[in-house]
Symmetry: D2
Amino acid sequence: MQPRNPDFDATVRASFAKQGMMRLLGAEISALEPGHCTLTAPIRPETSQQHGFAHAGLAWTLGDSAAGYSALSLLAPGEEALTTEMKINLLAPAQGSRLVAEGRVIRPGRRLLVVAADIWAEDTASRRHVATMLGTMFAVTPD
Amino acid sequence: MQPRNPDFDATVRASFAKQGMMRLLGAEISALEPGHCTLTAPIRPETSQQHGFAHAGLAWTLGDSAAGYSALSLLAPGEEALTTEMKINLLAPAQGSRLVAEGRVIRPGRRLLVVAADIWAEDTASRRHVATMLGTMFAVTPD
Amino acid sequence: MQPRNPDFDATVRASFAKQGMMRLLGAEISALEPGHCTLTAPIRPETSQQHGFAHAGLAWTLGDSAAGYSALSLLAPGEEALTTEMKINLLAPAQGSRLVAEGRVIRPGRRLLVVAADIWAEDTASRRHVATMLGTMFAVTPD
Amino acid sequence: MQPRNPDFDATVRASFAKQGMMRLLGAEISALEPGHCTLTAPIRPETSQQHGFAHAGLAWTLGDSAAGYSALSLLAPGEEALTTEMKINLLAPAQGSRLVAEGRVIRPGRRLLVVAADIWAEDTASRRHVATMLGTMFAVTPD
């Protein structure tokens, strides 16, 4: 996909740096190209559910941001991507040392961008598909 | 709705206390009865998105837990409620001092429980509907 | 909710009359006011699934149209409501003589309208909640 | 994926033949292997929306059945796949002579199968991605 913002990389990273939530979760951008964004975050006791696995909220939040930034990478300068709706289907317990969320744009509309994300739980020697997401981003121009 | 677990209140609170994620977000149980659970969490810089509003991940995570505990309150002793899938539609920016998530069971099946949650952003003098959620919990008996 | 189109009733009915699918399913408008639309359709062998109950596709299609027309009733003259995304959770087998779909607007945004629908299966003496839906309509001005 | 039912092909086709809705829509099975099922249906005036394109209900119904039969192909003899929930995101107007729905199983759990479907509108010389779906099937043993 062709970016309309030549500085899409800097735009995404500047937005990411402003998200307190990404810092709280220890998330990092591990890959970024037009229409694609991969984020990773450690699985820690602070983000666990009652059995010590990663809370579904960690997977959703990481996947939502990965999908959102895959959309932002395709927008015009000055536009922003807001989540309109996002669904997650959980596939397996999120056990391991970190989560990896791969977000992508399925349909880059002018106003509405349909996005998806797949979430993997990784350990030193394993990689498991733990969730898949499908949603919609809305492109807005803040005043 | 009639609880099958006479100790549903203690069961829900014990599970809640074990969720590192709920502590990280500063969440508390503010109401609990069979088939209904309300959680609240402060809106803080640590859980913000890039404009200082609450991150959608805070709303989703709080709503998912409120819905999940509304389901757990109806299960038999020893059973647990796992999120199978959960969708959120965002209605307005989550601005204010705290989020309130009201979870409820729409259909209490034997294995599958359809659940919903509504999320409100509250301030001293205002209350705004910021998100609505619809999903499915699966009742399991851990070994 | 306040309609912006004084002829919303005629606008909705004219659009409904043009939908081949509504005729094929035998659907009718049974109630219509700003932000609300109720449709009914018979449960017939032609719209069954493999056990003789109404096919989930009948419930989805009726609910989608009920939700869409609840949105259209709030739009400005000349605008149309397109389904962007729509999720259904099925609650019980759709058994009986007819389905009733009650659509409503949860949040009437300028461009995006969050909508919901509840589907009931009715018989002479019974009424059962068989599905619930949550989705998004997009307001467009056709050229 | 390995089928547990050696007669999965006959099982799927027998179930499909009993669906009045599939007949009403003119649907046919065009491909079937374990974990995958492709259905096609003509785009006709009878299944149109108000602009003459295929109604979203045709896409949803075809995609739901394609996904459901991709799940049924993996179940044990005597089991059935029921749709628990299913979301569709619409990508483009469904214009052309027929719809093709490709269903697949993403995660074949013992009780819950996460499924997806992609819908294409085809004409003599074109093929367009018009919708994508994500949902859950529940494996049951009817009495």
